[in-house]
Symmetry: C2
């Protein structure tokens, strides 16, 4: 056995001065960023609100509408329940916000449901949270973009046939913005987010004032309603179903806790304040819209959104203020998808670095963003949009279950954490699974807050699963465990690989092998073959050249030439009656491998023609490539490609002249 | 310099006992045939007529119709010209047949226009003939299949919307039959060809008898006519245009001369007799149909073919005899494409073996047929059918120019050949360009026959080019020279390649290289790396291991592990600030290559992970593959893949135990 020669190892560092050349992608996503540029890419509270809150805020554009959509089954009378349901949802929002404040302060390094579950509940709950969140991020993109398109169609009914095309175009746009990197997308998104907030505050504000002064009428010329036959009475199931649809307003609240690391220092404080701002704005707008919806007698319709009906009633027609509101809503909805584009790749990279998703997701592209995650998200969301024809109402039953599952897991995790902290002594600090538990005198009340939050969201999740089961929730209920299974299968693969490649029980390389046998398949005898032969003979004296005989006349020629040029090397001719090339060669190698000596290494040298122009490949059979991939799957052989380039053959031919 | 060691070369023959396993393709195209099975695959006169005449005979199904289509522009009165035009075409047929008899007897080894032009006129005319014929074979498939579908639609108008789908289905069917091989397709095609001939003879025969006895009426309820407004007078141009369309009847006459080798011995005699049979049947049917068309007052229409109008008039309605005629015509048309499927791949392989088309076309598949040619033809013909919506009238302007160009070249070639033979003395025999010229006393009259034939077809070709120019002939007039240029470009590539690989002026391999430098890129240190390192050290003592640093922490780990496990091998760390892997490595290699000693060979050893399951590839970045293809394009390095398989590592580990 060889003992490691510890002190003789020579290690050299070399700074690569390679700078990527300018290309089309520079123009599309910006110049490449060096890894050293990374730490500067954080954002302040105002930009943070724009980046992370657009998802949550934009849900006001469809939450009320989807409550109405369910109640419509029981006729106009049921519309009176919209406001009470909305109040219940805002109460839930408050509970979740308070509970998440604690998480953000406990996890300044990023406290998404995945991390909190992993640290406090274990691998399985963590992967459940991961699966749930990844699914919901995809749905966020599909639902937000579809709702954005619905706003456009409300204002411009002529666009109706192009819903899907517009939606896909929007997804591609967001993808490109995100491939540029978070800072620039933050700046790009700040203006429209604030424009939306201002426009909605104006709309709701004027609506409320006009409502109080009695000058607010009802919707003139309301859109035709899809479902308006009294198919159902006002049952508890109906109310709960409407409530479940409305809680989509809460989606996106968790975004900030996942993205704490994107904030400037002090991260937790900045993120926490941003969360409160966001919840207050969200709650106010949602309540205002729900209240006004009832007052103006807006109806559920696929043709015109509630926002459109509200804006044209408040502003007396489709003037400039109306268009500003619609465009503000559209743009924020389409950009809300951006929240998912910030979080999906980050969570994907996190799960991938834990070995539960393909490692490619951890790769940061030229602009320091997780390009593979961004592209994956774009593709799946686009497919969903196509499958569901960009309809919010068709997508909504699948939505939000995942979010509430992750809310529940995250808060239970926090509650469990406080319980552990309760066992610590004053001032004590322990590290468990990489996270620091620090004594906290208020652990009991904090545990209650998180525990109560978890309980509430768990109940809501069951309400979801039951009331939306038949419409599509069943799919998510099957998909989530399937995804978790896939994650664990991937994990097993990586773990098994690491174990069998580990050097822990490795006894070092055995003594040098003394014999080296070289096999070289050839199709003809020419300068390329001679180059390869020269290389083969450099490797070993034991060279066997193999020619597969497809054509008797050709074989005759090869034999004759070999006598002249073969330098005495052994030539084996394999007759192939079925004109196959690869199979007889593999069969021959099988025999060679079976007869191998224990101290022998076998190398297959493949002469490969590399044409000077790429299109020339069309004029040659790609046997070398097929052969290589077959050989690599074979145990016990090493494959060497000796390329021959026309006009310039491989080794230094200057060597001749000496 | 090394001198070839002539007498020590050891050559071994080994019969591969590999037999292809059963697979789906067996069921589709039959069990693989051994090369030894080849000579038996020839056919007799009766089967030969079925295989090679279906193209020519089936053109009676559309030739008359396309004459009528042109004359329709001048109103019904012009229909009287159909029969005189048809007589002119039959005279042309006779001239071409007599001329080709001489070719078949002079070229028993296959005397297609390509070979005759190549032997007697030179490379350029040969490639012109090749381009023209290949183009026309493709059009034969598209036109015949489209006309076949038109017959079906005449009988079953409900099928009209599915013209393209039916046509594509037919192409796929013919492709599969042809992938089985010529003998079996001959047998499959004999019955329907003879059924067609019999049905047409009955239809035309009864029609003529009823015509003479005065009991033949006119077409009842004729189809609506597309073009029936007197847009044009009866001009010479119109008559010539109609004549040009009618000469499509001659397409396929050359098929037998291309396929002489497929006949049983004595080939020339059998092929010649078959050609006469074919021309007689073709001429009679064509004249009969043209005559009856006028008598029953059939009209041109895209809705119902002339054959359908004729058959239902002769047989008094759409009874069983009518349906038998229609189905007979349909099947022979769809099978007529088979002639092209026999000739296109054969000509393609011939041109490819001369180095004017990609060599892959010379490859005979498991059933001894030129599979690549068959598949290429199917794909291009299908695209044409889709582009031209399976309409014969849209396709016809492109058709037949190529055939007449090849007729002309072939016959001029023959005329030139007789001229050379005229210079020989009695009994003399010379070999020129691989073909044998033998003294022939009747050379003068034979030269006149071929020369006159060439002159006639040349004139017809000009008539084509002028009268059909605007409708689509311009495309063929551009395409043919473009194809010829492509052929010569391919030829230049192969010739250049052969020249630079030639061993003619090769001075043998230079003295053995004495230095061997090995570079090995690694991404981590594990058992796979150790296996690769062991191999690298087997190759040379001069091993440099290169690690591209994408992540500082990872690099730290690699460095530490290398000190323990690196066996004193030099480690170079390349910092890659833009997180690129390939580019910095290539740049480093560039430096290594630039500093290479003249007696030094450089090998890059790439450790490549080969997962045990194919889907595992999705979980790994395919850096090794990308790296290899980049390195192979780099001059001056040899690339070695050392695969590592999990659970079983490369070299014989039994070696340890010793």
């Amino acid at each position: 056995m060889l003992t490691p020669e510890n002190n003789q190892t020579e290690i050299m560092h070399r700074e690569s001065d390679y700078t990527p050349p300018r290309s089309l992608s520079h123009w599309m996503i910006g110049r490449p960023l060096s890894t050293a540029d990374a730490p500067h890419q954080t954002i302040g509270k105002a930009v943070g609100l724009a980046v992370f809150a657009s998802d949550a805020l934009s849900s006001t554009a469809y939450a009320t509408q989807e409550i109405l959509g369910v109640l419509a089954a029981a006729g106009t009378l049921a519309f009176g329940y919209v406001f009470p349901i909305s109040i219940a949802i805002v109460v839930l929002l408050a509970i979740v916000t308070i509970s998440y404040q604690q998480t953000i302060h406990a996890y300044s390094g990023g406290g998404g449901a995945y991390i909190v579950s992993r640290d406090n509940l274990g691998e399985l709950p963590a992967q459940m949270a991961g699966a749930a969140l990844l699914t919901d991020y995809i749905l966020t993109v599909a639902v937000s973009v579809s709702s954005g398109v619905a706003q456009i169609v409300s204002a411009y009914p002529a666009m109706d046939p192009y819903r899907v095309e517009i939606a896909i175009g929007a997804v591609i746009l967001i993808m490109l913005v995100n491939l540029r990197g978070v800072k620039e997308s933050g700046a790009a998104f700040a203006v429209p987010t604030y424009f939306f907030i201002v426009m909605m505050l104006i709309t709701v504000g004027i609506g409320l004032i006009r409502g109080l002064s009695g000058s607010l009428g009802t919707v003139i010329d309301p859109p035709s309603q899809a479902i308006m036959h009294n198919v159902s009475g006002i049952t508890a199931f109906l109310i709960l179903h409407a409530f479940a649809n409305g809680t989509t307003a809460l989606t996106g609240v968790e975004a900030i806790s996942n993205g704490i690391t994107a904030f400037n220092e002090p991260r937790s404080r900045n993120a926490g304040i941003t969360l409160i701002w966001m919840s207050v704005i969200l709650g106010s707008l949602f309540l205002g819209i729900s209240h006004l919806t009832g007052q103006i007698g807006a109806v559920f319709s696929e043709e015109e959104t509630i926002i459109s009906q509200l804006a044209r009633t408040v502003f007396d027609g489709r003037g400039l203020p109306y268009l500003a509101t619609i465009w503000g809503t559209t743009v924020i909805l389409i950009m809300a998808a951006n929240t998912a584009f910030a979080d999906f790749p980050r969570l994907g990279a996190l799960a991938a670095s834990d070995g539960f998703l393909p490692r490619q997701l951890t790769f940061r592209g030229s602009r320091l963003v997780y390009s593979n995650g961004i592209i994956t998200l774009s593709i799946i969301a686009s497919l969903l949009i196509i499958a569901f024809k960009a309809s919010v109402t068709l997508l909504i039953p699948l939505y939000a279950i995942g979010v509430f599952l992750s809310f529940t897991l995250s808060q239970f995790g926090m509650a469990r954490r406080w319980l552990k902290i309760g066992r610590l002594k004053d001032g004590e600090e322990i590290v468990e699974r990489g996270s620091v538990l620090r004594f906290d005198g208020k652990w009991k009340s904090k545990m209650l807050v998180n525990g109560f939050g978890a309980f509430c969201t768990l109940v809501v999740m069951f309400v979801f699963a039951i009331t939306k089961f038949r419409e599509g929730a069943w799919f998510v209920l099957i998909l989530t465990p399937v995804l978790v299974m896939i994650f664990f299968t991937i994990h097993r693969h990586y773990k098994g690989l690491a174990r069998s490649l580990s050097l822990e029980d490795f006894s070092g390389n055995p003594t040098r092998q003394t014999r080296h046998r070289v096999i070289m398949p050839i199709s003809g005898v020419h300068q390329g073959t001679m180059d390869a032969l020269r290389y083969a003979r450099l490797l070993s004296d034991d060279v066997t050249v193999v020619h597969i005989s497809l054509d008797a006349a050709e074989t005759e020629k090869v034999q004759k030439k070999w006598i002249t040029w073969g330098e005495g090397t052994r030539l084996v001719i394999l007759d192939s009656p079925y004109r196959l090339f690869i199979e007889p060669l593999l069969e021959y190698l099988q025999v060679v491998i079976a007869n191998r000596q224990s101290n022998e290494t076998i190398t297959v040298v493949v002469p490969q023609f590399i044409p000077s122009k790429r299109w020339h490949n069309l004029l040659h059979m790609q046997t070398a490539n097929v052969l290589r991939s077959e050989l690599l799957n074979k145990h016990g052989v090493v494959v060497t490609d000796v390329p021959y380039h026309v006009h310039e053959s491989i080794h230094s031919h200057e060597g001749h002249k000496e």
